[in-house]
Symmetry: C2
Subunit: 216 residues, 2 copies
DNA sequence: ACGCAATACTTTTGATCAAATTGCCCGTGA
DNA sequence: TCACGGGCAATTTGATCAAAAGTATTGCGT
């Protein structure tokens, strides 16, 4: 019999929790992070918290300001440009590759996730929007079976998460537009090139939206 | 009085040491890594070793096979292709940006490093070649002042380091060709576009060289 | 000799504690 | 009021230990 509960280590739990907090806008740029703070968050010792912090800083989700100040990084126009360059390379590629491996029930799942996105936008649920949008994209990217590219995409999402939250909070969810419908339509048609283009458009528009905000 | 020696933490020391081992071909794909092994390597406790491992796995330099087996990842044709895609996006961009910030003594330094590369190739010093080649590229990339792109480039180099070592060991250094001279010439001419192209060629050729080897 | 099971050993994992480092606050003096 | 310095407090850092988990090995029975 297979394991019912996969007991994951504490440091993994902390890592995943903080990752969610960053991706889904529960933290703010500039917010300090301490080892004890994370340990208390989960209710564990400091050792696993340290490992989670090392992992997150290695991924660029946190930055070490001084020896004893770690915080979630602030966005700048320059950093945004670097992120966009790599996103525009990696994510359309993932989308195109995903189109080849995509089965009908995968498309159904993507359409379900897109409905969650629309619903969150309608009711102005920022956290819900960020989470559903993330799940849509990475369910798609997971189909590509390109572990390295997918990992890079995740680090980039970790970097823009806090800023997305700030921008959404300022302008609301009403102005949010996405190209998910075009994506699922292309997938149903088995059109990989159009899938790639739809995701490319989605990213471009999303990054433009973030760029609206003045940084620093 | 300012501090003369900046005492860096043990986990940083271990991290840098293992990073060098991977980049400069001191480890072999498939080689297992244990917490105690790293701790003994530096002569320290296991706590800092754990943090170093978390960081390295987050960067893709190590992979977690099972719960208690961590090793240097093996290369596959598929992984190589993913790496090349991102390298060809990031590194030429870094090179072009570097050209704008490049001062004369920077070029001199790059030429000095290139001489070390040539010398290592001539005497067949694989480790020396890998190190000098790395220093040439990342001295250049450092000039670009694009922290995120540079970080991504480093993770990609960490991923191909062990394989480069294997390929060089098999075919020797005699067949190695690079485009460093074209790079420094373009830099002296202040020609950013040609600098970008030289580095792009350098990467393409290097990746082709690795691709020669059949991965099972 | 082979398969199966139990045991022993290696390794990770997480808590705790002492020491070191650094930021911070407050008081003193000009 | 402000600059400077000392001391306090919070935090990181690294070692150590106990417990858990998995792997390899040994031994037993057929």
């Amino acid at each position: 019999m297979h394991k019912l509960v996969s007991k994951k280590p504490e440091h993994e739990t902390i890592y995943l929790r903080v990752k969610e907090m960053i991706l889904f806008g529960e933290v703010i740029p500039g917010q300090p992070v301490t080892i004890h703070g994370l340990a208390d968050l989960i209710g564990t010792g400091v050792t696993p918290a340290r490992e989670a912090i090392r992992r997150l800083t290695a991924e660029g989700a946190l930055v070490i300001q001084t020896n004893r100040r770690i915080e979630v990084p602030a966005m700048t126009a320059d950093r945004l440009q670097q992120i966009e360059l790599v996103r525009m390379t990696v994510e359309p590629e993932l989308a195109e590759a995903a189109a080849s491996n995509c089965k009908p029930n995968d498309i159904s799942e993507l359409e379900r996730l897109d409905l969650l996105v629309d619903e969150a936008i309608k009711v102005g649920d920022i956290r819900g929007y960020l989470e559903a949008n993330y799940r849509f994209h990475f369910y798609l990217y997971g189909l590509a079976e390109a572990q390295i590219l997918r990992g890079i995409a995740e680090t980039l999402w970790l970097r823009i998460g806090p800023s997305l939250r700030v921008v959404c909070g300022r302008y609301g969810t009403a102005n949010l537009v996405d190209h998910h419908r075009a994506t699922t339509r292309a997938l149903r048609a088995g059109d990989a090139a159009t899938t790639r283009e739809a995701i490319a458009q989605d990213i471009r528009q999303g990054m433009d939206f973030v760029r609206q905000t003045a940084f620093e």
